[in-house]
Symmetry: C2
Subunit: 282 residues, 2 copies
Amino acid sequence: MQILTTAAGLQAHTESARQAGRRIGLVPTMGALHAGHLQLVQAARAECDEVIATIFVNPTQFNNAEDFRLYPRVPDADAVLLAPAGCTALFAPSVEEMYPQPTVLRFDFGDLERVMEGAHRPGHFNGVATVVSKLFHLARPHRAYFGQKDWQQVAVVRQLVADLSFDLEIVARPTIREADGLAMSSRNRRLDAPARAAAPLLYQVLTAAAEQVQQGLSPLQVQAQAEAALAAEPLLTPEYFAVADAQTLQPLAAYVPGRAVVLCLAAHLGGVRLIDNVVVER
Amino acid sequence: MQILTTAAGLQAHTESARQAGRRIGLVPTMGALHAGHLQLVQAARAECDEVIATIFVNPTQFNNAEDFRLYPRVPDADAVLLAPAGCTALFAPSVEEMYPQPTVLRFDFGDLERVMEGAHRPGHFNGVATVVSKLFHLARPHRAYFGQKDWQQVAVVRQLVADLSFDLEIVARPTIREADGLAMSSRNRRLDAPARAAAPLLYQVLTAAAEQVQQGLSPLQVQAQAEAALAAEPLLTPEYFAVADAQTLQPLAAYVPGRAVVLCLAAHLGGVRLIDNVVVER
């Protein structure tokens, strides 16, 4: 596995891979890798000749400086995991390498980012779209792999690709969970023992709500019961619980036959902000 | 010269050119070609193996539906001019081909678009950045050629390329003028005889103002005298005259030693909106 740290180095690498007719898979990450990331690498390995993983804790997508500072960084442990999973090149640039000058342009994704993460983390999806565009231009992937735990991020990146005619395919892979249901997340490392013990509640609330959606309970009732269940846990401060159209991400007043529903939540647990979601096909 | 009308067709063409190690030059135009466009094609021909010209009257960059409707369209005459100038492929897509779905994302370039064209044509540079991003992704150019008559557009496109790390070089070429100084523009075709006779005033005012800048007359005085000279022509309705930093495009209260100045204007002449500019090195 090659390790690249400069934009020019990555561009030279991917230009020659493209010229050789090799198919490139890109797995953009912020490091502190877990099984959720590794399945993305494995999927890319199965479908592409070249698998480029990137590790870059992107400052422009953090609306909270403390969250950025505390985001786990374990580059050596990450590098050890990537090669066995099938990664052929790791791109791990510095902030200065990715942002030699301050960025001027701003993205706005309209209604798609007026809800959930976009509403609670101002500027978050501008930062995501900026760094993803940069990585697409440096890595020239045929396919790029993202985890469905960041459901809204996948929707925004799909919109970016469609609206700017990026010539690549977005592949979204299901959330990987711990045995007790907690969605794998780099931020889980920051949970202390009591917070970790309480954390499975998030997925329990989501699965109970999904059953209620299947049973036809109204979106408002589902949301109210989920919020009550989250509020019952003293360690946990819920930020939002949304019953939304899985594609438009807009909150639902009523279900629309044939359209999937996504249940999304964010909550603070012992100083750590966690998100999770489940999709309900109807 | 190959003529391509589909995005997939252009992508296939440029993918194989890239694989063959051929350098690609892109000349994006809205058609109704004149010598200003053809010098871009010739410059691309001199520097690249493959020269792709695009002709697409992009609806998303028109803030005025009438202006879009009346924009000259002469595809057959354009095609005849391109091959002798060195164009190897012409991409002339339909609106539906470029915008299969309505675009959701919006670009904002901050101060760069709060002045001049951006201020007077709301949404203009969002449309420009969108279509230019699409064309870059379809044509995968090593170099893209733009005319300096659209000085602010060049600045916005350079910002786009820097901020999203597009792997290409922007080449800007000087404005080509008629013998009487009128900047070549596709819109000149729409001038009737009296308007055409009055039109050289625009460049006369710019050159007089440039001399005053060289002589050290203050930006405010230069602007006031230029506005007075434009107002003296009854056929002409000035929209703006700006004395600005050539790089940031922000209006100047005073000159900054070593920084170039750009003088930009827009005016309506017999129902046609024309722009022009000159740069003053100091």
